[in-house]
């Protein structure tokens, strides 16, 4: 059997799917709905900065952002293959999807290190 990198991407997809399932809905609800509608108060600038600068928060946010991107990359790639019947472009699609996730990961790493 030919060796492929599929298990590696699948592991990232799977880890991202689990992390996203558990953590993203509450973030979307609080940040995107509860705060703008005034159900809860937005954290003060200094307080949220202190929270985000904590090493554990940085690690958490890095994992959440990066794995979410890889989860998307893998699912979106196969949706394009199967849904839109673009199997003949599989190399280009794979490069674009995983490439975007890698760029997003680097951006998250850079921003979280420089904050």
């Amino acid at each position: 059997m030919k060796k492929t990198s599929e298990p590696f991407w699948w592991a990232l997809f799977s880890a991202g799917g689990m992390i996203a399932a558990l953590f993203i809905p509450i973030h979307v609800f609080l940040n995107g709905l509860a705060i703008p509608f005034g159900w809860i108060e937005a954290p003060q600038y200094e307080n949220i900065l202190t929270l985000v600068r904590h090493p554990l928060t940085r690690l958490y946010l890095f994992g959440l952002i990066s794995l979410s991107f890889f989860h998307w990359a893998h699912r979106f790639r196969f949706t394009l293959y199967d849904g839109l019947q673009l199997k003949h472009l599989h190399q280009l699609i794979a490069v674009l999807c995983y490439g975007s996730a890698i760029v997003g990961t680097l951006a998250a790493g850079y921003i979280l290190l420089s904050i």
Partner: protein, 138 residues
Amino acid sequence: MTHNSRYSKYHPKWYRTRTPIFWWIHKWVHVRFILREMTSVFVAFYALVLLFQIRALTQGPEAYTAFLAWLKTPVSIVLHVVAFVAVVFHTITWLNLMPRAMVLHFGQKRVPKAVIAASGYIAWAVVSIVIAWIMVTT
């Protein structure tokens, strides 16, 4: 979804019926499948929102205030409502698949599927409460 089949290029000598792009639209299970896969777009959207929020934090209090103001715009509200529905759909479908994807053993006995599913939902609830508590007290 994640099979390893090798796709061949178009070959005029082989007879193959062409599959239309919207092959999945006629059956609800297929539409559900495509919708489930498309929830990943909103997962990525939210990772981007988080990135922009952290970037605003690095740029100072004005940028953070501007970000909070953007959250109140109709575009942001609509995006977040749709994203919320999508990510909750992702969570439910993901947690429901978990017992079928994971085979756990406790001693000699296989852990029942219902226990694995329930533990997923309990983990989701605990995580959500902890994050909400941190955000409200910050």
